[in-house]
Symmetry: C2
Subunit: 221 residues, 2 copies
Amino acid sequence: MSITNPKQALYEQFAMVAKAMGNAQRLEVIEHLAQGSRSVEALAAKMKLPTANVSQHLQAMRRAGIVTSERDGRFINYRVSDESVLAAFAAVRLVAERQSAEVARVVHEWFHRRDEMEPISRVELAKRMKKGLVTIIDVRPPDEFQLGHLPGAINVPISEIKSRLSLFAAGRDIIAYCRGPWCVMSFEAVAQLRSKGLSARRLEDGLPEWKAAGLPVESGL
Amino acid sequence: MSITNPKQALYEQFAMVAKAMGNAQRLEVIEHLAQGSRSVEALAAKMKLPTANVSQHLQAMRRAGIVTSERDGRFINYRVSDESVLAAFAAVRLVAERQSAEVARVVHEWFHRRDEMEPISRVELAKRMKKGLVTIIDVRPPDEFQLGHLPGAINVPISEIKSRLSLFAAGRDIIAYCRGPWCVMSFEAVAQLRSKGLSARRLEDGLPEWKAAGLPVESGL
DNA sequence: AAATCATTCAACGTAATTATTGAATGTATC
DNA sequence: GATACATTCAATAATTACGTTGAATGATTT
C-alpha cells in the first residue's frame, strides 16, 4: 500500500476516483449536483437520507477531488469540481448501458417499452424551438426549475402532471425533460401524456447535457 | 439493497461498473488488456501477481461487464468488452489528472520534469511520418510489439535501451511510445536518449489511443 | 488413462465500506 | 452571550472487499 513506484501511485489515484463513483447513492448525489450547487441538507431532503450519511458521501467524494465545497452562511454548498466529472459519469453510464443486459432489462420493464418513447435529440429540439412548434415541459421540482431551465419551458412537476393534463393543447407536440437521460420523471410524464392521447416525447438528455452543449438556459422566474 | 425502484436499480448498475474500476490492480489489468486480449497467466506474469489473484480481479470485472473471456485451448483469453470501457478509463484518468494535485505531484517527481518532455500529438506524428522525418521506437516488451505496433516503428524494449543507444543517429528526431499516456517506459526512454544528447520526445498517448483514432497499425514480424 | 498445465474455487484472516446514532463544531440570529 | 441550525465527527455494527493458500476443475498432450 505504501507508494513505492510511480506507476502504482498513479493507478492508486485513478482508482480513488473510480471508487468514489462506485456507489449508487454517490452517483445520485452527482446527478443532483450536475444541476448546480446544493447544500448537504438540500441533497439529503431530495434523496430522503439522513444528513450525516449524505455528508459522509460528500466528504468521500471531496477526498477524491470530484466535488468541492464552499461555505455560504450556515450552509455548505457542494458542487462537482469540473465538467470532467460529468464526462466520467456519462462514460461509466455508457459502459453499463452497453455491457449490461441487466440495465437494458430494467429500463425495459419499468419504462413501458422505451422504443415507443423515441427521444428527441438536442439538435432537433433546438431547431423546432426556433419555429415555435413545440411545448416544452420541465418535470423537475420547482426549486430545480428556478435555478435554470430551457428557454420557454413551463414547469410541470411530475407530481402535478395528472391534475394539469387538461391544460395541454391536442395539436401541439409536447417535449418533456428532467435531470438526465436516466431520470425517471420524464418517462413517466410522457406515459401520462400519451395515455390522454397527446403527442409527447422525451428529450434525449436532461438539463445538464443541454447546458454542456452550450445551448441557452433561462433562470429565475 | 433489494431492487425496489428503477432509479435505484440503475444507479446500482452504474455503480457496479465504477466499482469494478475502483482498484489499482484492476486498472492496470485494463491497461494491459487495452493492448489486446491476454491470458490470465500472461497478465499475472506481467504484473508479478499470483495467478489466482489476477483471476479473481478478472472475474470481478467480468461480472460488471467490462471484460469478456473466451477459451483458447487450455488458456482463457480476456479482453475489454467494448471501446466504451477504454473511454471510461480515460475519463476517470482525466478527472484524477485535473482534480488531484497529488497526481500532478507524482508525475512531476518521478518523471523528471514533464514539461521538458513535451509530448508530440498523434496528428503531428502522423504528418511527420509521411515525410519520413522521424525514427519511432516502441519501448514495450517484444511480445506486445508483435501483436501490433505503429508502422515503421522499431522495437527497443526499455530493458535494452541503454545497450542500444549507440544505434541512434544524432540528426534524427526520435519518438518513443508505449502503452498509454501514463506508461512509465516511454518517459524513461526519453530520459535515457536525452542524456546522450539525442533529440527525443514521447508520443502523447500509446498504441491503444493510436488504434482508437483509426490510424494504421502493423503487426507480426 | 495418466500426466500436465491454465484456470477457478473454497476457505481464511485482515482491512475497508456503509449506514446509524448521538454528540460536537461552527456560523448566524435574537 | 444565548439560541438555533447546518454540518461534521466519533463510535458502533453489519457487510463487503482483498489477498493468500492449497485444492479442484477442465482441457490438452503423452
